[in-house]
Protein backbone atom coordinates (compact mmCIF):
# COMPACT_ATOMS: atom_id res chain seq x y z
CA UNK A 1 0.00 0.00 0.00
CA UNK A 2 1.25 3.49 -0.85
CA UNK A 3 -0.46 6.70 0.23
CA UNK A 4 0.49 10.38 0.04
CA UNK A 5 -0.66 13.10 2.40
CA UNK A 6 0.06 16.73 3.07
CA UNK A 7 0.62 17.21 6.77
CA UNK A 8 -1.79 19.59 8.46
CA UNK A 9 -0.20 19.59 11.90
CA UNK A 10 1.63 22.89 11.39
CA UNK A 11 1.87 25.56 8.69
CA UNK A 12 4.95 23.93 7.10
CA UNK A 13 2.72 21.43 5.25
CA UNK A 14 5.23 18.59 4.70
CA UNK A 15 4.53 16.15 1.87
CA UNK A 16 4.25 12.75 3.56
CA UNK A 17 4.44 9.31 2.00
CA UNK A 18 3.36 6.07 3.64
CA UNK A 19 4.63 2.77 2.27
CA UNK A 20 3.24 -0.19 4.21
CA UNK A 21 2.52 -3.87 3.62
CA UNK A 22 -1.17 -3.58 4.51
CA UNK A 23 -3.61 -0.82 5.37
CA UNK A 24 -4.39 -2.25 8.79
CA UNK A 25 -0.76 -2.41 9.87
CA UNK A 26 0.83 1.02 9.48
CA UNK A 27 3.69 2.15 11.72
CA UNK A 28 5.44 5.51 12.07
CA UNK A 29 8.55 3.89 10.58
CA UNK A 30 6.61 3.46 7.31
CA UNK A 31 6.36 7.25 6.90
CA UNK A 32 8.79 9.42 4.94
CA UNK A 33 8.88 13.15 4.18
CA UNK A 34 8.04 14.36 7.69
CA UNK A 35 10.19 16.94 9.47
CA UNK A 36 8.96 16.12 12.98
CA UNK A 37 7.48 13.22 15.00
CA UNK A 38 4.01 14.68 14.88
CA UNK A 39 4.04 14.44 11.09
CA UNK A 40 4.74 10.70 11.24
CA UNK A 41 1.90 10.01 13.66
CA UNK A 42 -0.40 12.22 11.59
CA UNK A 43 0.26 10.06 8.53
CA UNK A 44 -0.39 6.86 10.51
CA UNK A 45 -3.64 8.31 11.82
CA UNK A 46 -4.73 9.32 8.33
CA UNK A 47 -4.40 5.68 7.26
CA UNK A 48 -6.14 4.13 10.26
CA UNK A 49 -8.56 6.68 11.72
CA UNK A 50 -8.41 10.25 10.37
CA UNK A 51 -9.23 12.79 13.08
CA UNK A 52 -9.82 16.55 13.07
CA UNK A 53 -10.22 19.25 15.69
CA UNK A 54 -13.74 20.64 15.70
CA UNK A 55 -14.10 24.36 16.38
CA UNK A 56 -17.52 25.95 16.30
CA UNK A 57 -19.83 28.11 18.40
CA UNK A 58 -22.57 27.33 20.90
CA UNK A 59 -25.65 29.39 21.69
CA UNK A 60 -25.43 31.07 25.12
CA UNK A 61 -27.92 32.67 27.46
CA UNK A 62 -27.40 35.29 30.14
CA UNK A 63 -24.85 37.31 28.18
CA UNK A 64 -24.70 40.26 25.83
CA UNK A 65 -23.23 37.82 23.30
CA UNK A 66 -25.38 35.35 21.37
CA UNK A 67 -22.61 32.79 20.91
CA UNK A 68 -19.51 31.50 22.61
CA UNK A 69 -16.64 29.80 20.74
CA UNK A 70 -15.98 26.13 21.58
CA UNK A 71 -13.65 23.33 20.48
CA UNK A 72 -13.25 19.60 20.92
CA UNK A 73 -10.87 18.77 23.77
CA UNK A 74 -8.92 16.61 21.32
CA UNK A 75 -9.36 15.70 17.63
CA UNK A 76 -12.59 13.87 16.73
CA UNK A 77 -13.03 11.12 14.14
CA UNK A 78 -13.44 12.92 10.81
CA UNK A 79 -16.56 10.92 9.93
CA UNK A 80 -18.37 12.20 13.04
CA UNK A 81 -17.82 15.93 12.45
CA UNK A 82 -21.27 16.64 11.01
CA UNK A 83 -23.04 14.65 13.74
CA UNK A 84 -21.05 16.49 16.41
CA UNK A 85 -21.99 19.82 14.81
CA UNK A 86 -25.67 18.87 15.08
CA UNK A 87 -25.24 17.98 18.77
CA UNK A 88 -23.49 21.30 19.51
CA UNK A 89 -26.15 23.26 17.60
CA UNK A 90 -28.86 21.58 19.70
CA UNK A 91 -27.20 22.76 22.89
CA UNK A 92 -27.49 26.05 24.79
CA UNK A 93 -24.89 26.98 27.40
CA UNK A 94 -25.28 29.31 30.36
CA UNK A 95 -22.81 32.14 30.95
CA UNK A 96 -20.54 32.99 32.65
CA UNK A 97 -18.09 30.65 30.95
CA UNK A 98 -14.34 30.32 31.34
CA UNK A 99 -11.75 28.91 28.93
CA UNK A 100 -11.80 25.12 29.32
CA UNK A 101 -15.30 24.84 30.83
CA UNK A 102 -17.00 21.67 29.58
CA UNK A 103 -20.06 22.40 27.43
CA UNK A 104 -20.83 18.83 26.30
CA UNK A 105 -19.23 15.91 28.10
CA UNK A 106 -18.26 12.83 26.10
CA UNK A 107 -19.86 13.93 22.84
CA UNK A 108 -21.45 11.01 20.94
CA UNK A 109 -19.68 8.59 23.27
CA UNK A 110 -16.26 9.46 21.82
CA UNK A 111 -14.74 10.22 25.22
CA UNK A 112 -14.00 13.72 23.92
CA UNK A 113 -15.57 16.84 25.42
CA UNK A 114 -16.70 20.08 23.82
CA UNK A 115 -15.09 22.90 25.80
CA UNK A 116 -15.32 26.69 25.90
CA UNK A 117 -12.45 28.64 24.27
CA UNK A 118 -13.26 32.05 25.70
CA UNK A 119 -14.21 33.81 28.90
CA UNK A 120 -17.82 34.93 28.37
CA UNK A 121 -19.11 37.15 31.12
CA UNK A 122 -22.63 36.70 32.39
CA UNK A 123 -23.13 40.46 32.25
CA UNK A 124 -25.80 42.06 30.13
CA UNK A 125 -29.07 40.66 28.84
Amino acid sequence: MEKEFICIVCPKGCALKVTAVSESDVKTSDVTGHQCKRGASYAVNECINPVRMLTTTVRVTGSRQQLAPVKSSSPLPKALLHECMAAVNDCTAKTPLKVGDIIIKNILGTGIDIISTSNSSGAGR
Binding site: I6, I8, C10, R52, T55, Q66, L67, P69, V99
Partner: protein, 324 residues
Protein backbone atom coordinates in the same frame (compact mmCIF):
# COMPACT_ATOMS: atom_id res chain seq x y z
CA UNK B 1 -5.79 67.04 28.25
CA UNK B 2 -4.47 63.74 29.46
CA UNK B 3 -0.81 62.70 29.49
CA UNK B 4 0.47 59.14 29.21
CA UNK B 5 3.95 57.69 28.83
CA UNK B 6 2.88 55.24 26.14
CA UNK B 7 -0.27 55.22 24.04
CA UNK B 8 -1.09 52.08 22.04
CA UNK B 9 -3.61 52.43 19.23
CA UNK B 10 -5.40 49.10 18.78
CA UNK B 11 -6.06 46.33 21.32
CA UNK B 12 -5.56 43.31 19.10
CA UNK B 13 -2.66 40.86 19.32
CA UNK B 14 -0.10 43.48 18.23
CA UNK B 15 -1.28 46.22 20.58
CA UNK B 16 -1.60 43.93 23.59
CA UNK B 17 1.79 42.26 23.10
CA UNK B 18 3.48 45.65 22.62
CA UNK B 19 1.86 47.05 25.77
CA UNK B 20 2.74 43.96 27.82
CA UNK B 21 6.36 44.07 26.65
CA UNK B 22 6.66 47.82 27.35
CA UNK B 23 5.33 47.22 30.87
CA UNK B 24 7.92 44.46 31.37
CA UNK B 25 10.57 47.00 30.34
CA UNK B 26 9.39 49.37 33.06
CA UNK B 27 6.89 51.72 31.39
CA UNK B 28 4.34 52.42 34.12
CA UNK B 29 1.76 54.62 32.46
CA UNK B 30 0.33 52.81 29.42
CA UNK B 31 -3.05 53.32 27.75
CA UNK B 32 -4.53 51.11 25.00
CA UNK B 33 -7.31 52.53 22.81
CA UNK B 34 -9.53 49.85 21.21
CA UNK B 35 -12.31 50.50 18.71
CA UNK B 36 -14.39 47.37 19.46
CA UNK B 37 -16.29 46.54 22.66
CA UNK B 38 -13.57 44.24 23.93
CA UNK B 39 -9.84 43.60 23.54
CA UNK B 40 -8.62 40.83 21.26
CA UNK B 41 -9.08 42.26 17.78
CA UNK B 42 -9.69 39.92 14.88
CA UNK B 43 -8.65 36.88 16.98
CA UNK B 44 -12.08 36.89 18.66
CA UNK B 45 -13.79 35.83 15.44
CA UNK B 46 -11.03 33.40 14.36
CA UNK B 47 -12.46 30.49 16.36
CA UNK B 48 -10.37 27.87 14.49
CA UNK B 49 -7.11 26.45 15.82
CA UNK B 50 -3.58 27.06 14.60
CA UNK B 51 -2.50 30.00 16.76
CA UNK B 52 0.36 30.10 19.23
CA UNK B 53 2.53 27.16 18.11
CA UNK B 54 5.63 29.37 18.32
CA UNK B 55 4.80 31.64 21.27
CA UNK B 56 3.01 29.21 23.59
CA UNK B 57 4.25 25.89 22.09
CA UNK B 58 0.66 24.67 21.83
CA UNK B 59 -2.09 24.97 19.28
CA UNK B 60 -4.72 27.46 20.43
CA UNK B 61 -7.87 28.92 18.90
CA UNK B 62 -7.99 32.67 18.22
CA UNK B 63 -10.11 33.51 21.30
CA UNK B 64 -7.79 31.41 23.51
CA UNK B 65 -4.71 33.24 22.17
CA UNK B 66 -6.46 36.56 22.78
CA UNK B 67 -7.44 35.45 26.30
CA UNK B 68 -3.81 34.80 27.24
CA UNK B 69 -2.91 38.41 26.41
CA UNK B 70 -6.11 39.92 27.86
CA UNK B 71 -5.26 38.15 31.13
CA UNK B 72 -1.72 39.60 31.03
CA UNK B 73 -3.11 43.11 30.36
CA UNK B 74 -5.39 42.74 33.38
CA UNK B 75 -2.75 41.21 35.63
CA UNK B 76 -0.28 44.01 34.82
CA UNK B 77 -2.95 46.66 35.38
CA UNK B 78 -2.49 48.15 31.93
CA UNK B 79 -5.36 50.57 31.33
CA UNK B 80 -7.45 50.48 28.19
CA UNK B 81 -10.55 52.17 26.79
CA UNK B 82 -12.85 50.17 24.50
CA UNK B 83 -15.26 51.68 21.99
CA UNK B 84 -12.60 54.34 21.37
CA UNK B 85 -11.79 55.65 17.90
CA UNK B 86 -8.63 57.62 17.24
CA UNK B 87 -9.34 60.63 15.04
CA UNK B 88 -5.85 61.99 14.46
CA UNK B 89 -2.23 62.05 15.50
CA UNK B 90 -0.90 65.61 15.66
CA UNK B 91 2.70 66.75 15.92
CA UNK B 92 4.25 66.34 19.35
CA UNK B 93 2.48 62.97 19.63
CA UNK B 94 -0.82 64.60 20.52
CA UNK B 95 -3.56 62.06 19.82
CA UNK B 96 -7.23 62.97 19.46
CA UNK B 97 -9.77 60.22 20.14
CA UNK B 98 -13.42 59.79 20.95
CA UNK B 99 -15.41 57.22 22.90
CA UNK B 100 -18.96 56.95 24.30
CA UNK B 101 -17.67 56.74 27.89
CA UNK B 102 -14.88 59.33 27.78
CA UNK B 103 -16.16 61.68 25.07
CA UNK B 104 -13.56 63.68 23.16
CA UNK B 105 -10.05 63.07 24.42
CA UNK B 106 -6.75 64.81 23.77
CA UNK B 107 -3.88 62.65 24.89
CA UNK B 108 -0.23 63.72 24.87
CA UNK B 109 1.91 60.60 24.68
CA UNK B 110 5.60 60.11 25.44
CA UNK B 111 5.54 57.45 22.74
CA UNK B 112 2.88 56.03 20.45
CA UNK B 113 2.56 52.49 19.08
CA UNK B 114 0.44 52.04 15.97
CA UNK B 115 -1.28 48.63 16.07
CA UNK B 116 -4.44 49.16 14.03
CA UNK B 117 -4.17 45.95 12.01
CA UNK B 118 -5.55 45.62 8.52
CA UNK B 119 -8.74 45.60 6.51
CA UNK B 120 -10.06 43.38 3.75
CA UNK B 121 -10.07 44.29 0.10
CA UNK B 122 -13.62 44.57 -1.22
CA UNK B 123 -15.42 44.16 -4.52
CA UNK B 124 -14.65 47.82 -5.22
CA UNK B 125 -10.93 47.11 -5.55
CA UNK B 126 -11.51 44.23 -7.99
CA UNK B 127 -13.84 45.81 -10.54
CA UNK B 128 -15.96 42.69 -11.16
CA UNK B 129 -18.58 43.57 -13.80
CA UNK B 130 -22.26 42.84 -13.29
CA UNK B 131 -25.13 43.97 -11.10
CA UNK B 132 -24.83 45.17 -7.52
CA UNK B 133 -27.13 42.83 -5.56
CA UNK B 134 -27.13 41.92 -1.86
CA UNK B 135 -25.28 38.79 -0.78
CA UNK B 136 -21.68 39.80 -1.55
CA UNK B 137 -19.46 39.87 1.52
CA UNK B 138 -15.80 39.86 2.35
CA UNK B 139 -14.83 36.56 3.99
CA UNK B 140 -14.01 38.29 7.29
CA UNK B 141 -17.41 39.98 7.43
CA UNK B 142 -19.08 36.61 6.85
CA UNK B 143 -16.85 35.19 9.59
CA UNK B 144 -18.10 37.84 12.01
CA UNK B 145 -21.73 37.10 11.04
CA UNK B 146 -21.32 33.36 11.62
CA UNK B 147 -18.97 33.27 14.62
CA UNK B 148 -19.98 36.36 16.60
CA UNK B 149 -23.54 37.26 15.60
CA UNK B 150 -24.86 33.78 14.75
CA UNK B 151 -26.17 34.47 11.25
CA UNK B 152 -25.57 32.28 8.21
CA UNK B 153 -25.02 34.70 5.30
CA UNK B 154 -26.47 32.26 2.74
CA UNK B 155 -27.07 28.66 1.72
CA UNK B 156 -25.27 28.35 -1.63
CA UNK B 157 -21.90 29.97 -1.58
CA UNK B 158 -19.14 30.72 -4.08
CA UNK B 159 -15.84 31.99 -2.71
CA UNK B 160 -13.50 34.14 -4.80
CA UNK B 161 -9.88 34.02 -3.66
CA UNK B 162 -8.12 31.22 -1.81
CA UNK B 163 -6.60 33.24 1.02
CA UNK B 164 -6.66 31.58 4.43
CA UNK B 165 -9.80 33.38 5.59
CA UNK B 166 -11.66 32.21 2.48
CA UNK B 167 -10.55 28.61 3.01
CA UNK B 168 -11.43 28.67 6.71
CA UNK B 169 -14.85 30.09 5.86
CA UNK B 170 -15.46 27.38 3.26
CA UNK B 171 -15.15 24.78 6.04
CA UNK B 172 -17.05 26.84 8.60
CA UNK B 173 -20.03 27.43 6.29
CA UNK B 174 -20.06 23.75 5.26
CA UNK B 175 -20.13 22.65 8.91
CA UNK B 176 -23.02 25.06 9.56
CA UNK B 177 -25.02 23.51 6.73
CA UNK B 178 -24.36 25.73 3.72
CA UNK B 179 -23.25 24.31 0.36
CA UNK B 180 -19.95 25.80 -0.79
CA UNK B 181 -20.01 25.37 -4.57
CA UNK B 182 -16.40 26.22 -5.32
CA UNK B 183 -13.42 28.37 -4.47
CA UNK B 184 -12.00 30.31 -7.45
CA UNK B 185 -8.39 31.44 -7.47
CA UNK B 186 -7.01 33.60 -10.27
CA UNK B 187 -3.42 32.45 -9.61
CA UNK B 188 -2.19 28.98 -10.61
CA UNK B 189 -1.58 28.09 -6.94
CA UNK B 190 -3.64 28.54 -3.77
CA UNK B 191 -3.17 31.73 -1.76
CA UNK B 192 -3.58 30.18 1.68
CA UNK B 193 -1.54 27.59 3.56
CA UNK B 194 -1.49 24.07 2.12
CA UNK B 195 -2.81 22.65 5.39
CA UNK B 196 -5.91 24.81 4.97
CA UNK B 197 -6.45 23.58 1.41
CA UNK B 198 -6.33 20.03 2.80
CA UNK B 199 -8.43 20.39 5.95
CA UNK B 200 -10.89 23.03 4.72
CA UNK B 201 -11.49 22.06 1.07
CA UNK B 202 -10.32 18.50 0.37
CA UNK B 203 -11.89 17.16 3.60
CA UNK B 204 -15.28 18.40 2.42
CA UNK B 205 -14.84 17.77 -1.32
CA UNK B 206 -15.07 21.48 -2.16
CA UNK B 207 -13.64 22.12 -5.65
CA UNK B 208 -10.71 24.54 -5.90
CA UNK B 209 -10.64 26.14 -9.34
CA UNK B 210 -7.11 27.43 -9.88
CA UNK B 211 -6.47 29.97 -12.68
CA UNK B 212 -10.17 30.86 -12.61
CA UNK B 213 -11.93 34.10 -11.80
CA UNK B 214 -15.40 35.62 -11.73
CA UNK B 215 -16.22 37.70 -14.81
CA UNK B 216 -19.82 38.63 -14.03
CA UNK B 217 -22.19 38.87 -11.07
CA UNK B 218 -25.90 38.18 -11.71
CA UNK B 219 -29.06 39.04 -9.77
CA UNK B 220 -31.25 42.08 -9.20
CA UNK B 221 -32.01 42.24 -5.48
CA UNK B 222 -30.12 39.21 -4.16
CA UNK B 223 -27.19 37.64 -6.01
CA UNK B 224 -28.43 34.73 -8.18
CA UNK B 225 -25.17 33.48 -9.59
CA UNK B 226 -21.77 34.26 -11.01
CA UNK B 227 -20.05 33.61 -14.32
CA UNK B 228 -16.74 31.86 -13.75
CA UNK B 229 -14.03 31.74 -16.44
CA UNK B 230 -10.54 30.31 -16.80
CA UNK B 231 -7.71 32.83 -17.16
CA UNK B 232 -4.56 32.75 -19.30
CA UNK B 233 -1.00 33.41 -18.12
CA UNK B 234 -1.69 37.16 -18.19
CA UNK B 235 -4.69 36.63 -15.88
CA UNK B 236 -7.03 37.57 -18.73
CA UNK B 237 -10.30 35.56 -18.97
CA UNK B 238 -10.13 33.05 -21.82
CA UNK B 239 -13.15 33.37 -24.16
CA UNK B 240 -15.28 30.23 -24.40
CA UNK B 241 -14.47 29.01 -20.88
CA UNK B 242 -17.33 30.86 -19.14
CA UNK B 243 -19.58 28.83 -16.87
CA UNK B 244 -22.65 30.02 -14.92
CA UNK B 245 -22.69 28.96 -11.26
CA UNK B 246 -25.90 29.57 -9.29
CA UNK B 247 -25.41 30.91 -5.75
CA UNK B 248 -27.08 33.17 -3.19
CA UNK B 249 -23.85 34.34 -1.59
CA UNK B 250 -20.43 35.39 -2.86
CA UNK B 251 -17.53 35.69 -0.44
CA UNK B 252 -14.42 37.65 -1.35
CA UNK B 253 -11.12 36.54 0.13
CA UNK B 254 -8.89 38.67 -2.01
CA UNK B 255 -6.30 40.13 0.26
CA UNK B 256 -5.76 42.48 3.18
CA UNK B 257 -4.58 46.08 3.31
CA UNK B 258 -2.90 47.65 6.35
CA UNK B 259 -5.25 50.24 7.85
CA UNK B 260 -3.29 53.48 7.82
CA UNK B 261 -5.68 56.40 7.38
CA UNK B 262 -4.54 58.15 10.57
CA UNK B 263 -0.91 57.27 9.83
CA UNK B 264 -1.13 58.89 6.41
CA UNK B 265 -2.92 61.98 7.73
CA UNK B 266 -0.24 62.39 10.36
CA UNK B 267 2.28 62.73 7.52
CA UNK B 268 4.13 59.54 8.43
CA UNK B 269 5.95 57.98 5.44
CA UNK B 270 4.11 55.02 3.89
CA UNK B 271 5.84 52.26 1.92
CA UNK B 272 3.91 51.93 -1.36
CA UNK B 273 4.76 48.21 -1.56
CA UNK B 274 3.33 47.16 1.81
CA UNK B 275 0.84 50.06 2.29
CA UNK B 276 2.24 50.21 5.83
CA UNK B 277 4.44 52.84 7.45
CA UNK B 278 8.17 52.79 6.68
CA UNK B 279 9.88 51.53 9.83
CA UNK B 280 13.49 51.21 10.96
CA UNK B 281 14.94 48.10 12.62
CA UNK B 282 13.45 49.24 15.94
CA UNK B 283 9.97 49.52 14.37
CA UNK B 284 10.09 53.32 14.60
CA UNK B 285 8.22 55.24 11.89
CA UNK B 286 9.37 58.46 10.23
CA UNK B 287 7.79 60.40 13.13
CA UNK B 288 10.13 60.21 16.15
CA UNK B 289 8.58 58.33 19.08
CA UNK B 290 5.87 56.77 16.93
CA UNK B 291 6.34 53.01 16.49
CA UNK B 292 4.30 50.46 14.57
CA UNK B 293 3.80 46.70 14.69
CA UNK B 294 1.62 43.89 13.40
CA UNK B 295 -0.60 43.92 10.34
CA UNK B 296 -0.61 47.72 10.20
CA UNK B 297 3.03 47.47 9.04
CA UNK B 298 2.57 44.56 6.63
CA UNK B 299 0.15 41.63 6.55
CA UNK B 300 1.45 38.61 8.50
CA UNK B 301 0.58 34.94 7.92
CA UNK B 302 0.84 33.99 11.59
CA UNK B 303 -0.19 35.81 14.75
CA UNK B 304 2.94 34.47 16.45
CA UNK B 305 5.03 36.63 14.13
CA UNK B 306 2.82 39.63 14.92
CA UNK B 307 3.50 39.07 18.63
CA UNK B 308 7.27 38.87 18.10
CA UNK B 309 7.26 42.10 16.08
CA UNK B 310 5.04 43.78 18.71
CA UNK B 311 7.47 42.82 21.46
CA UNK B 312 10.25 44.55 19.52
CA UNK B 313 8.10 47.67 19.11
CA UNK B 314 7.20 47.58 22.81
CA UNK B 315 10.87 47.34 23.79
CA UNK B 316 11.84 50.18 21.46
CA UNK B 317 9.02 52.42 22.70
CA UNK B 318 10.05 51.72 26.29
CA UNK B 319 13.60 52.76 25.41
CA UNK B 320 12.30 55.96 23.80
CA UNK B 321 10.18 56.79 26.85
CA UNK B 322 13.21 56.24 29.10
CA UNK B 323 15.16 58.67 26.94
CA UNK B 324 17.66 56.47 25.09
Amino acid sequence: MREVQLLVIGGGPAGMAAAVEARKQGVEDILILEREDSLGGILQQCIHTGFGLQIFKEELTGPEYACRYIDMVHKMNISYITGATVLSIKSGRMVEAISPTDGFMRIRAGAVILAMGCRERTRGSLNIPGTRPAGIYTAGTAQKFVNINGYLPGRNVVILGSGDIGLIMARRLTLEGAAVKMVCEIMPKPGGLTRNVVQCLQDFNIPLKLSHTIVEIHGRNRIEGVTVAAVDECKQPAPGTEEFVACDTLLLSVGLIPENEITREAGIDIDPLTAGPVVDKKMQTSMPGVFACGNVVHVHDLVDNVTLQAELAGTSAAGFVAGH
